[in-house]
Symmetry: C2
Subunit: 272 residues, 2 copies
């Protein structure tokens, strides 16, 4: 999916909501557990319920790999289901991969050809050759970790170099020297420090930012938009737990739709 | 496996060789491709041939995930094969994972319970809560990326903080504050800058280091031992391509054994 297509989906649906499919058999409604593939059935219901209010889905691979082979099967079925029924949804494999060049190239083929997702999250620690192999696929995206929403983001991402630049800013700046641009690279920037978004916009004014940390992690959507939105939206805001686990009864899909709709309506008010 | 058990295996076999199972269907001998699971058959033959000379195996998950569901099946079969036939081998899942706390906990369960490997490689960018969930498993290990062997290691890992400490040293120092110690944490340190091993030993004198970059990537085993060995060896040196792809004919396993044996004999000369 191109940047223009993504922007046009956002404006048409008046939403920049990404629903995180962090599907955990310990948390899904009990009545689903007797089905053959509870994880897929849960995802299918959540997707059908939330698709009108969302423009992206983001399965976090840990939740699928954690269930072994069966989990990977549920993931593939979920990806197929989205592609066939909601081809305008942007699919993000939240994998946070990062490895040396020849291995990164394998991961890239795995995600962009085998799984056929639109984007994959990549960790920057190993530098250029761990990222560039993901950049050579038409209409596919790298989403590079810059400033994450977790407590541990403090440990290294803010460490300043002798010129006073924090590591996350070094990551942004280097990525632009690697052939990353607003048409093939986005950045993960947590909502828990929304004011940092202004600083990030000085380095990557046009790029889309994937913003986790709304909802369960406590970030404010209003602040994210105030500090991070650009003239073409430039934001994909993710919510996982607050939507998909809004209710744990047979009513779960309806409750998820209501939550997603509430977020979408707030988003609509921030879009021009 | 405990540190004592690992050290005792090293002394008994006079080897600290880890064979990297970076198994790529594009590179394995053609005659295997007509079998039902060429990747598993290749691994099985390589393992049988090299086990006398090695103390560890390290499948890089990218190579298995890259082949989709079938690849994951080959991985599980390989892990089972090693555990059943060579229970004294230390198994490292080279996954370079790194995610927020609740997700890291899922990955930890996936690797240590579902796959039942001894160790998993973890990326440090997201800090403490992305690493500590891997530390609570008896006899299991985190192998934290510190200084990698690829070209991109230059980009961020050497960036100095205002006190002149490079990022990789910050990673080592912080990890010791997180409950990491020589009995549950190792570090990836590339062989391509063997002289940096002395500096690393000032921070983690007792810890095992997993050293890639010997062989295809050009690092010197003599230098690695000179700068990095401690009184209990403290090194696991990985070689992948130079061993497993030593020969591309039906003779591949014998050739791999010869390469592994040559490395083992050199290793033996460095062990006290």
């Amino acid at each position: 999916m191109t940047r223009e297509e993504l922007y046009s989906n956002i404006m048409r649906k008046r939403s920049f909501l990404c629903v995180g499919l962090d599907t955990d058999t310990k948390k899904i409604p009990a009545h689903l557990l007797k089905l053959d593939d509870p994880v897929f059935e849960f995802n299918k219901a959540i997707i059908d319920a939330t698709a009108p209010f969302a423009i992206a889905y983001k399965p976090n691979l840990a939740f699928y790999e954690g269930a072994g082979l069966k989990g990977i099967q549920s993931l593939y079925k979920t990806l197929d289901y989205i592609r066939k029924n909601y081809p305008d949804q942007f699919i993000i494999a939240d994998a946070k991969r990062g490895d040396i060049g020849n291995t990164a190239a394998l991961y890239a083929r795995s995600f962009f050809e085998e799984m056929d997702v639109d984007a994959v999250t990549v960790a920057p620690y190993m530098g250029q050759d761990s990222v560039t192999p993901f950049l050579g696929f038409d209409g596919k995206w790298v989403i590079l970790l810059a400033l994450t929403s977790n407590k541990g983001a403090q440990d290294f991402q803010y460490i300043q170099d002798p010129e006073g630049r924090p590591l996350f800013k070094n990551v942004l700046e280097h990525s632009l020297e690697w052939g990353g641009n607003a048409d093939n690279m986005m950045y993960v920037v947590g909502a828990t420090r929304a004011e940092m978004l202004s600083e990030i916009r000085t380095v990557v004014p046009d790029s889309f930012l994937l913003v986790p940390g709304i909802g369960a992690q406590g970030g404010s959507l209003a602040d994210v938009c105030k500090y991070g939105m650009n003239s073409k939206c430039g934001l994909i805001v993710n919510s996982s737990r607050a939507i998909i686990y809004a209710d744990s009864t047979e009513n779960f899909a309806k409750a998820a739709a209501e939550q997603a709709k509430a977020v979408q309506q707030e988003m609509s008010s921030y879009l021009k």
